[in-house]
């Protein structure tokens, strides 16, 4: 190697020598802690998304169908009345399909209580019509009642609204719990990053003081620490987020196409949320490093 080449490599090395030590005794522990917190926070968000989807599933399943109980009057037999009711509501906007339940299906519904083959042939069974609603724009109960009245049918629409609202409330509660858990975890991760950053910075007080005495502006010193800790948090939380994404993918694969189970339906796109964790962690670290550096600097004259 010629002398000129040697000088050039020297020069390149010098240009990138960071003013802050690259290796710092505390960094191993800090990286691990931040990674673990990012991992847990990502899993919590994935679980929250899945819980939200599950809750949505419950309520949409419920509101997707309504049952009519038809009481035959006039000359109609039960099945005739049920058939006419199905026809009447089928035309209502927001109804996808209406089917009269035949006797066999009705018996099947009673089986859990009366047992198979124990149902007397002449037992008067309620005439039921299941109405599948458009899940996006379900027909209102009022419009169904109006259609039945026009067809001169005596039928009651099974009023699920009351207990459906209970289910909705439960679903909302699940969502809220998931969001609160995420927020608490994010806050914990943030404060640990902030704390660790301040610790690391206090350990570098000597650097701060020397740079200060050499005429560095506060902004210059603060930027050094901001960059340093932002990169550290970015890397560490990327490890955690990747691990969480891998975990989520594992659950997704285990659960087959329906997700882990109907209770926790993870979607592939949920895993993308993990990409946000490193950015958030870097932001928190940058801000706390800045405020910690400024606090040390302001203590200097």
């Amino acid at each position: 190697m010629s002398e000129i080449e040697a000088r050039q490599t020297d020069a390149e090395r010098r240009r990138i020598t960071p003013l802050l030590p690259v290796t710092d005794g505390r960094d191993g522990g800090l990286v691990f802690t931040v990674a673990v917190l990012a991992f847990i926070a990502c899993l919590a968000v994935i679980a929250a998304l899945a819980a939200d989807r599950a809750a949505q599933g419950w309520t949409s399943d419920l509101s997707a169908s309504v049952t009519l109980q038809v009481r035959p009057k006039g000359g109609d037999t039960g099945p005739e009345a049920a058939a006419r009711a199905a026809e009447a509501v089928a035309g209502v906007k927001g109804v996808v399909e209406a089917r009269a339940l035949d006797r066999k299906s009705a018996e099947a519904l009673l089986e859990p209580w009366l047992g198979k083959d124990n149902i007397p042939q002449d037992l008067p069974l309620p005439q039921l019509v299941t109405v599948d609603l458009d899940p996006k724009a379900p027909a209102s109960l009022a419009s169904l009642n109006a259609a039945l009245a026009t067809a001169h049918l005596d039928a009651s629409v099974d009023d699920r609204q009351r207990w459906m609202s209970d289910v909705r409330r439960a679903a909302d509660l699940v969502r809220l719990a998931a969001v609160v858990a995420c927020l608490i975890l994010a806050a914990a991760a943030g404060s640990v990053i902030a704390f660790a950053t301040r610790q690391g910075l206090a350990a570098r007080r000597d650097v701060v003081e020397v740079l200060h005495l050499c005429g560095a502006e506060d902004q210059f010193v603060a930027n050094l620490f901001m960059g340093r800790f932002a990169v550290l948090a970015l890397q560490a939380s990327a490890y955690g987020a990747l691990a969480a994404a891998a975990g989520g993918a594992g659950l997704r694969l285990l659960g087959g196409s329906d997700g882990f189970s109907p209770a926790l339906p993870i979607a592939w796109q949920d895993l993308a949320i993990c990409a946000g964790a490193p950015i958030l962690a870097a932001l928190v670290a940058a801000l706390s490093a800045r405020s910690a550096a400024m606090a040390i600097l302001r203590a200097q004259p």
């Binding site: 003013l19 000597d206 020397v210 005495l213 050499c214 005429g215 502006e217 302001r298």
Partner: protein, 223 residues
């Protein structure tokens, strides 16, 4: 001037240094030499009184005006304050680096300066591997790399033998010839006498001016 609630370390001190002058600052250990230098290099604010540098009252200057002033002052600290994780080159270049100058603009200047203080072969070494005298010279190189108007040195010969002390003294005199106002705190009476430079003497927080000492080793009683 005082630290916290302690008694005054320095009081009733009034002096001015002519631009381009060279003075020694003497006094017993604990007399307040370092404290006086700290006031000048703006690491301490006076509890009372006025400090004027470059025609500006720096004692009351706003914080954000200080970095620009510090850049005109080179300091050799009593404890060096070198950064152990930076190479000799990077330590010496620190005052330039904090001004965000491009490395390729000053690389040769810094190398030349380090050559001049006898560290040309140690550019890529780290301070913990340097001897006391080498650290001292590195601290001096860092203090002057910026071509400061004022050069303050706190015991710059405290860690070296007599021959090295004389070499460092010659270096400081040379810098003074190049235009810097120099103030050196030192215990080394022999060195002070050999230099033939005027002396500021601190005793019990009070400063007195003394003429250059003529004979080596002669101690002038403070008035």
């Amino acid at each position: 001037m005082r630290y916290g609630t302690s008694p005054d370390v320095l009081r009733d001190i009034s002096f001015s240094l002519a631009p381009g002058s060279f003075h020694f600052l003497t006094g017993a250990s604990g007399a307040g030499k370092s404290s006086l230098l700290k006031l000048i290099y703006l690491a301490q604010r006076p509890s009372r009184g006025e400090i004027t540098l470059f025609g500006q009252d720096v004692g009351r200057a706003p914080r954000d005006a200080l970095p620009a002033l510090r850049r005109r002052i080179g300091v050799v600290f009593q404890e060096f304050h070198l950064l152990d994780h930076l190479t000799v080159f990077d330590n010496a270049a620190l005052p330039l680096r904090v001004t965000e100058q491009r490395t390729d603009l000053y690389r040769s200047d810094v190398s030349e300066l380090l050559q001049w203080v006898g560290l040309g072969a140690r550019l890529e070494s780290y301070p913990p591997t340097l001897s006391g005298g080498e650290k001292q010279r590195l601290a001096i190189a860092r203090a002057v790399v910026n071509r400061p108007d004022i050069l303050l040195a706190d015991e710059p010969t405290g860690n070296v033998d007599h021959a090295m002390a004389l070499r460092i003294l010659r270096l400081l005199v040379e810098l003074n010839r190049m235009g810097a106002t120099v103030l050196i705190a030192s215990h080394d009476e022999d060195l002070v006498a050999r230099s033939g430079m005027p002396v500021l003497h601190l005793d019990d927080g009070v400063l007195t001016r003394q003429p250059p000492r003529s004979a080596p080793g002669r101690d002038t009683a403070p008035s």
